[in-house]
């Protein structure tokens, strides 16, 4: 029993956190159907209405979190849940670098997921994220609009945007900022496309989307922005963290 108690404590501390739900700074995404780039064999996916954070989680937000839940401090975090680059440019456990209202990055999926749970929220699913992010200022689905795509491609090619404060990109149709133009964002099922269980992929083990093979099974060959997003997600593992990867939380709509 003695042996188990630290393990149990760990499991407990990871499983539970005091829930302080707050719906402010969230926007309602009314949901609907959309055709994702991958994973649905040209079938549309239905997205239920959900709430999404208007802004990504900032350095200040995250500092507050690690103060409350010290097991997620840089020096305490379990290697199983975060690799060495976790909060890599924080000077110490409680000192971040960069702007207080810049998005927090170098956070693993485990940490991001826990953060959201402790706010009484959760990470958005990939479909939710993609659904919300296909909007531009005026339209729900701007994926065919040239300027929308070019904006995203330009951002992918702009170095060091992770240093920018939140809220400086455009406000989209749903009232949400920074889905494009600031940092990549974790989703709950970020690698589900690549472990789809789809027979062809499992046989070929051709899951890295390299070269021409990425074109097979994609619903829109012109959506370069989305290709790159899926490629990025595919390169990540849950314990990885990355300079250009942050997150925001989502929540079910309570009836």
């Amino acid at each position: 029993m003695k042996l188990y108690s630290p393990v149990l404590f760990l499991v407990f501390s990871l499983l539970f956190c005091e829930v302080a739900a707050q719906n402010d700074k969230m926007a309602l995404v009314k949901g609907g159907v959309y055709l994702p780039l991958y994973g649905a064999e040209n079938k549309t996916v239905k997205v239920e209405p959900f709430l999404m954070d208007i802004y990504p989680v900032t350095n200040t937000d995250y500092l507050k979190f690690v103060e409350e839940y010290p097991q997620w401090k840089k020096s305490n975090v379990k290697p199983l849940f975060a690799d060495k680059s976790y909060l890599t440019n924080w000077k110490d456990d409680e000192t971040f670098q960069g702007l207080p209202n810049a998005p927090v990055t170098n956070v693993s999926w485990f940490a991001a997921k826990k953060y959201c749970e402790c706010q009484g929220k959760r990470l958005p699913t990939m479909d939710e994220w993609e659904f919300a992010a296909m909007a531009n200022e005026k339209m729900q689905d701007a994926r065919r609009i040239e300027t929308y795509n070019q904006y995203i491609l330009n951002w992918y090619e702009t170095p060091k945007t992770f240093n920018n404060p939140i809220g400086e990109t455009f406000k989209n149709y749903w009232g949400i900022y920074d889905l494009h133009g600031l940092v990549w964002e974790w989703t709950l099922d970020f690698n589900s496309v690549l472990i789809s269980g789809e027979s062809r992929k499992d046989v070929d083990k051709d899951s890295n989307l390299f070269c021409g093979s990425a074109a097979i099974g994609a619903s829109d060959l012109m959506n370069y922005a989305a290709f790159m997003r899926y490629a990025f997600r595919g390169s990540m593992k849950a314990r990885y963290s990355s300079q250009n990867l942050g997150f925001r939380c989502a929540k079910d709509v309570e009836n």
Binding site: S85, T88, E146, N149, Q150, L153, N154, Y156, E157, T158, P159, K160, W184, D206, N208, L209, F210, C211, G212, A214, A215, M222, Y224, F227, M228, Y230, A231, F232, G234, S235, M236, K237, Y240, S241, S242, Q243, N244, L245
Partner: protein
């Protein structure tokens, strides 16, 4: 009988050599044993591979044995200069376009460390055409920013091979500069030469046209349409011209490792004023001799060799010649040394030519307008009149007949604080265009004015007209002022 005897002897000798090789296997000596299958070539000892930036290549392998070769390559996404005043964000293997040159010999076991810099936005991988295996390594090298992937492969086929990133969307990764060359030398190395250089062609697709200033983004539609704005050697215009030209001395034997990263265009590689003595066609074993222009496919390479016989500057081009003249596909080889009049005389004389029958001939003009010398304004009144014409032809669509502009879209020129504040800035905008947010008379504008293809005289006229109309500050702009700004 005689023949049989000989064969027997050879077999015995081979056996003997093999035994020696076996006995001394630990001391880096495979002697001259030949292997029917390059898979069987053993490796001993480790070596860190020498990697070089273009146009340089690492030291030849010479007679060294096959080794375990450690290649350490870092991926960097970084801003660079496409041509004067034009910036582009390149994605690179090792910080340069093309990426670092990798030199191996047949039988080497390459342990490849692919590192993706933490500041990078994107995951990448590497597909080396010298690899026998799925994805050419791409399958096992898909690496997230801030991570390192290690995989290894044995080089089995001698030749010159392209490597490139193959992450989706693959075309964009290549279009941004993610390609380079890996050389696999045969047993005993390539024959020695005096100079070796590394050149790689690539096509680029930018939001603006050739020469449009500022940071230019990748243009996906142009790339899909295969309409390149830039076709260059070694990543940017002028990478190998002027002070950056490659050099040689008369009498030297030159070997160029020439690759073509694409993503779209096939290269008709040619050196003006030289004939290739030898071309390893498509980088393989087939050698062609006395070649003027060699075709290099996208994702392919060639090794060309020639001796330089006379001094001078030799121009390397893609002989799809508009690319050379208008899109940057030019490099220079400067050769120093003694003239050789027997090979090339230079100009001997410039004489008069009078054909018999003496009718004056002229080029058919086909009714096209012959370009006239530009009419210059003599005084400010003429300048105003000419300027008004030009304004009504070129500027009126956006800035409107009375310079009032259109609120929210095109800034006013009438009583414009922005205009009157800085005449050189106004000239610069007419010459080079303007993008981005400006504030004029307290209102914000964020749109695009394209560069105007006008002569110094025309710019002076039109701006003089603008400055002397609609309550502006009544400056006269002269062609000299325009010229000064243009030459800045």
């Amino acid at each position: 009988m005689k023949l049989l005897f000989k064969k027997n002897l050879v077999t015995k000798m081979l056996f003997g050599i093999g035994a020696v090789a076996f006995l001394s296997g630990c001391v880096n000596d495979q002697s001259d044993k030949k292997y029917n299958d390059t898979v069987d070539i053993p490796v001993n000892q480790e070596m860190i591979a020498e990697l070089t930036s273009p146009p340089n290549v690492p030291t030849p392998v010479g007679k060294r044995m096959a080794k375990k070769l450690i290649v350490d390559l870092e991926i960097q996404e970084r801003e660079g200069e496409m041509t004067n005043g034009v910036k582009y964000v390149y994605w690179t293997f090792g910080g340069t376009v093309p990426g670092s040159f990798i030199r191996t010999r047949v039988g080497d076991e390459v342990e490849f460390h692919l590192k993706n810099h933490p500041d990078n936005k994107l995951p990448h991988n590497i597909d080396l055409h010298a690899v026998n295996g799925p994805g050419g390594g791409a399958e096992s090298s898909f690496v997230a920013p801030g991570h390192e992937k290690v995989f290894s492969f044995k080089v089995l086929n001698p030749g010159l091979y392209v490597y490139h990133c193959a992450t989706a969307p693959v075309g964009m990764h290549i279009a941004n500069g993610m390609y380079g060359l890996i050389l696999v030398e045969p047993e005993g190395g390539l024959s020695p030469v005096d100079k070796e250089y590394y050149i790689m062609q690539g096509d680029f697709y930018t939001e603006g046209k050739y020469g449009d200033r500022g940071l230019q983004a990748f243009d996906m539609q142009k790339a899909i349409d295969e309409k390149a704005d830039y076709v260059v050697f070694n990543g940017h215009v002028g990478a190998m011209t002027g002070d950056n030209a490659i050099t040689a001395k008369v009498g030297e034997k030159i070997r160029l490792f020439v690759g073509n990263g694409g993503p779209n265009l096939v290269s008709s590689f040619h050196v003006i004023g030289e004939i290739f003595d030898k071309v390893h066609v498509e980088g393989g074993d087939l050698v062609n001799e006395n070649v003027q222009t060699t075709l290099i496919p996208a994702g392919g390479a060639a090794i060309v060799e020639f001796r330089v016989d006379v001094p001078g500057t030799f121009i390397l081009v893609d002989h799809s010649i508009f690319r050379a003249f208008n899109k940057g596909a030019l490099a220079m080889l400067k050769v120093e040394g003694e003239e050789n009049k027997a090979i090339y005389s230079g100009e001997i004389r410039d004489g008069i030519y009078l054909p018999e029958g003496g009718a004056i001939q002229s080029m058919p003009t086909g009714g096209a307008k012959i370009e006239k010398e530009e009419v210059k304004a003599l005084g400010i009144e003429e300048r105003m009149a000419f300027g008004k014409d030009k304004y009504m032809a070129t500027c009126v669509a956006c800035h409107q007949a009375n310079g009032q502009g259109i609120e929210g879209a095109f800034p006013p020129l009438a009583k414009s604080d922005y205009l009157n504040a800085d005449v050189d800035r106004a000239i610069d905008i007419v010459l080079h265009g303007k993008t981005g947010e400006i504030t004029v008379n307290g209102k914000k504008y964020n749109s695009v004015m394209t560069a105007q293809a006008l002569s110094d005289e025309e710019v002076a006229n039109v701006l003089t007209y603008v400055y002397n109309s609609w309550g502006n500050s009544k400056k006269e702009v002269t062609p000299e002022m325009v010229k000064a700004v243009r030459n800045k």
